[in-house]
Symmetry: C2
Subunit: 337 residues, 2 copies
């Protein structure tokens, strides 16, 4: 009996990145091109994304940029035609979801339905769907080791964050449904907070690094909420991009895996690191949370465990927070961001 | 300083029941009319509902039945105009969600957005949004006392059930969002499995009672999956309807409460009760789960704790399973269902 392999090698295959003119999209396009993809088409509506994010890949003949919207199924069908793999990144996150839940639900729910539909109808071989630690919630009791079976803790979290997490839960289940009913191979990658070069201002937790950098580079003391013992678990964008490539290439399907950086950190450690790497001798200032702002506090020590991804994808994170923040600061200073 | 009351008395007020030509809708209309509502308008698309479900209220001049769809915002705006309270019931549940997630997501997500929008735009005083024990998931580890802060356990559950639960999570958070940003008073009632007169074949767990009754009334032995120690927690439709009325009338807003029957039961107890009340001396037959069928098994003893609803709504369930099943069987035999 023949065994079925669920690998989609990067080399000589064609990939579509939906929502790709973004932090993770631009780094993923770079990795796929480096590894010999025959074509990488980036589709983006430019609602959040920007062509600027792909400038570093300019001139690569295998890269194409197409304007298109996940809400527009015909555009997705046209873009997916002839593709071997699809990486679906288009989404509104907690802050944007809080500002505009109507659009957020459209993009995250209907958009994902459209992407899956396009994959099934055009014969795409494998879908990588990007989910989030938000599927574990941001509730007040979040603590300990988050593994792939950890439930979704919503109590005490802001509506935008819960809605965002719930849309990712739905997206993951739509993938399972498409696998079961229509045979679509897929891997769900649940990122912890992604940060790095081409960082935007839309991600609640990653924002913390760049807001801290914004303060210290203007000579102001960095701020931490409370005593700064709050845990954050970041993953550098290059590690997330490598995980996406590994999700295509590995013999894995119908599975969701956590993708996180080498280890979690406290907010106090982060602000100290940012100040140090920015060359500023500034002591952190302890402040109260701003009312009305979507600030995600786990309230406990937690870690997003990525050992399943190590086993299933043969991937592990390579960039620690010191190196990642160093690269982010270099990029910000070089580009004037 | 004046204190704000979030009560909406039933007497002399006007109510719209969205998705009301249904099991819970018909019983809720009955309670609201009995308690002196000036008008009860039932809006239904008849996709799942049926005018038959309102026959027992025929001739009541305060009851109106309007054909309309939650997907059609203008119809909701027209129906909500002049209403004091809106009860939102329209939803696809796990089985229907499994069959048609596209429609299910439309109805449960966009439909709920439309209902909330209609409430805000027409000045409705209070919304009662009907959620479900599905927000706690149906995962394999579900056990113990489910309270309102219990997380959403998805691992091991079928996609349709998880998607259904996630749409209810989203609906609840859209209510929170509308309360915070637009001042809409609301109460979320999270039902355990509703059963009773005018029972349909669409609810995974309640189906268990009528499928058992279908077998025993044809002289076949009732079936239980495994040893029958699986817990179910039902609530009789009349108790759910009273809870809906209490949610309007109570001085409560911006809160979600569990609504369940007097106590949980094992599946073995249920089949014995159905056989006994149907007057059949038939011993249960122990069977394996049917593959591919959405069967929800908690795998452990659990209870949906409704003590918060007792405190906040001044409500408690009155109909135990013996009395409820007796009424259901009487109704089925009287109507030939």
């Amino acid at each position: 009996m023949p065994t079925t392999c669920h690998c989609l090698p990067i080399e000589a295959n064609r990939f579509l990145i939906v929502g790709g003119a973004s932090l993770v999209g631009s780094a993923s396009a770079e990795v796929l091109l480096e590894r010999g993809a025959a074509e990488v088409t980036v589709l983006d509506s430019f609602y959040q994304g920007s062509a600027d994010n792909l400038k570093h890949l300019q001139g690569n003949a295998r890269l194409k940029l197409v304007e298109g919207d996940v809400m527009h199924l015909p555009q997705l069908l046209a873009a997916a035609k002839g593709m071997d793999g699809v990486l679906h990144l288009a989404a509104l996150m907690s802050i944007s979801m809080d500002r505009d839940p109507w659009r957020g639900l459209d993009v995250n729910v209907r958009g994902t339905q459209n992407v899956i539909e396009a994959c099934c109808l055009t014969g795409v071989k494998k879908l990588v769907f990007t989910s989030s630690s938000a599927v574990y919630g941001y509730g007040l009791g979040l603590a300990g080791n988050l593994v792939e079976t950890t439930p979704f803790l919503t109590y005490g979290a802001p509506p935008g964050a819960i809605i965002y997490g719930a849309t990712k839960v739905i997206g993951e289940q739509l993938c399972r449904d498409a696998f079961a009913k229509r045979g679509l191979d897929y891997v769900v990658v649940r990122y912890s907070t992604v940060y790095g070069e081409r960082q935007h201002y839309r991600a609640t937790n990653a924002l913390f690094i760049i807001e801290t950098h914004d303060r210290v580079r203007h000579g102001r003391r960095p701020r931490v909420i409370g005593d700064g013992s709050d845990t954050k678990h970041f993953v550098h964008v290059s590690d997330a991009a490598r995980a996406n490539a590994a999700a295509f290439a590995a013999d894995a399907t119908d599975i969701a895996v956590n993708i996180s950086g080498p280890r979690p950190t406290t907010t106090l450690e982060i602000v100290r690191l940012v100040a140090e790497l920015a060359g500023k001798d500034l002591e952190p200032e302890h402040v109260e949370p701003e009312p009305g702002k979507v600030q995600l506090s786990a309230g406990g020590a937690w870690c997003m465990d990525h050992r399943l991804a190590e086993r299933v994808l043969g991937w592990r994170p390579e960039v620690d927070l010191r190196e990642g923040i160093r690269r982010l600061i270099v990029w910000r200073e070089a580009t004037g961001k």
